[in-house]
């Protein structure tokens, strides 16, 4: 009964993904299994080398790196979207699993929540 949280929006442009990450951490805090799926422009969360200080925001890459420690089960990324946005083994965050398509991932979860 893992909850799947889907982040399909790019980082920094809105708060929706950050709120979703907060929700994922809260579920994990209460030992409720949760996974994150990044798709569409949302895969840009997963790029190495982000520096958001000039925006006055925290770097989501660093926030996200705490996910495994907090008990988030899996961080999944939409493979085709990664390809579109030039994300490959050289610049993708560690611990991210790329999947060939998102639909089968969504289909195998009973609780699915799109961010924002």
């Amino acid at each position: 009964m893992t909850t799947l949280i889907v982040i399909d929006q790019a980082p920094y442009g809105s708060w929706s993904g950050r709120e979703a990450l907060d929700m994922a951490f809260s579920l994990a805090a209460f030992d409720q299994p949760v996974s994150l799926l990044f798709c569409d422009a949302g895969v840009n969360w997963l790029r190495q080398g982000q520096q958001a200080t000039e925006l006055g925001q925290k770097t989501v890459e660093k926030n996200l790196a705490a996910a495994p420690m907090f008990g988030v089960e899996a961080i999944l990324a939409d493979g085709p979207a990664c390809q579109r946005y030039g994300l490959d083994d050289s610049n993708l965050l560690a611990g991210v699993t790329r999947v060939e398509a998102v639909e089968p991932i969504i289909a195998r979860h009973t609780d699915v929540l799109f961010a924002g």
Partner: protein
Amino acid sequence: MTDTPNTHTLHLLNKAPEHSRFARCLQSLQPGDSLVLMENAVLALANSGLSLPEPCYALQADVRARGLSTLNGRHTLIDYQELVQLTADNPRIISW
């Protein structure tokens, strides 16, 4: 999607018809699924260019707030209690 389990899904949709996730939600509907329009998604009721699936529920508070309660259609208006009941009755939920 050959590995889709045969379970009915309740789709909670809160995006306006122009939002990309609105189309994505409608595309993913399977036979036996139910759709609930809430927040900006209830604007779909006023959009004559859209054909909505059945059963289609719309959250009364959101419909009334937007002045859409006189619209006729094949949708069913529900209150919050009925929404809770729907979430309990369906084995699978996607919040779009």
